[in-house]
């Protein structure tokens, strides 16, 4: 069966294929999925891109679906690792959240093809168990890191005590995903000149949400 355990005890093998083979396969699959979508990406094409045989793929992954999911998981976990260093309660909260916004938006762009694939899948088929599981198992942990950061900062008195962490996290993430999906047309809206490029956008969002709309006392 597919041993999907990620933690091989680093048995220094002399063979070119150990656990890195798996990583190479994921990388190759990411490219092919990105280019052709899930349905359009054949196992044969992925095998060719990874320079291995089709059957080897099924040695590593139980199904095409499982491979696809591993690709997404890999990207999400990579971002998750960044998160830990970005969200440090020791720093100023606004600065910290600004970093988060920028890194998250950057991540969406770096993995743009996969990001589009995932968003599209959720839009088309959000009620499917596949989608629900993907969000629950892969994205929820990262979301929780952000929400936990907000809750912690709240406890320490760095953030408004009656703010809802989950709602705030959602607003921040939504602003990024919305921008990722619709940046091309945003320049057509009035007043958008002042918002500018990616980085400026992230800072404008944080300024807005962090300080709020109401008059400050």
């Amino acid at each position: 069966m597919a041993t999907v355990t990620a933690s091989t005890p680093a048995q220094s093998s002399v063979l070119p294929g150990d656990d890195s083979a798996r990583q190479r396969l994921i990388a190759a699959a990411a490219m092919v999925f990105s280019e052709h979508g899930f349905a359009g990406a054949s196992i044969a094409a992925i095998a060719e891109a990874a320079a291995i045989s089709k059957s080897t793929i099924f040695h590593h992954f139980a199904s095409k679906q499982a491979l696809y999911r591993a690709v997404i998981e890999s990207a999400a976990q990579e971002f998750g690792r960044q998160l830990d260093s970005v969200l440090s309660t020791r720093d100023d909260a606004m600065e910290c959240l600004g970093r988060f916004q920028q890194q998250h938006l950057q991540h969406l762009h770096d993995k743009a093809p996969i990001t589009r694939l995932v968003l599209r899948q959720i839009e088309d088929d959000g009620a499917s168990e596949d989608c629900l599981a993907l969000v629950r198992d892969v994205f929820a942990p990262n979301f929780e890191k952000l929400a936990n950061y907000l809750t912690d900062a709240q406890r320490v008195g760095m953030l408004r005590s009656d703010m809802q962490p989950a709602a705030a996290a959602l607003v921040l993430v939504a602003a990024n995903i919305f921008y990722f999906q619709h940046a091309q047309v945003l320049s057509q809206l009035p007043g958008m000149e002042t918002v500018g490029g990616h980085a400026d956008y992230s800072l404008a969002v944080i300024d807005t949400v962090f300080k709020g709309l109401q008059v400050q006392a």
Copy 2:
């Protein structure tokens, strides 16, 4: 009322009900487009739904594309009319913006099929002149109404003076569109129980953005 600004030369037909025929055609087209998408909706099917002939359609609209656009324009203008009554600078700003969020989200849902069509088109082809023109001519006016409300409220001292109206408007709209597109999976995220249904979500967003994240003085 329907002042459908158009590039079409005003064929001033003397027939009474000329304008209502146009409206009926738009309504029928909206249904057919919603059900089958742009490509899947044939002019013949639209003509049948509107109980008129194909050629009558081309008397009212220069092309299928123009009719499609009129459908979107019609929905946007309908929402634009609601906006004027919702955004009244006389009321409390938070309450007013809460109403806006709820109405906007409700509008997205009421016109769900068309909304999906438009969002999809922007995602797939946002750089096309069609999309840019759509946003510039159809959505920008409504966006501007919200931005202007924020600017006005700012001038009157109801909102923080150094807040960026365009950024704030974007955050609010993004939160709604994001929710519209991904509501099905949001329940998989931790802490979402407290956010609840449509109306609660709107209020949670407004609470978050209006009061901000930082500790209030």
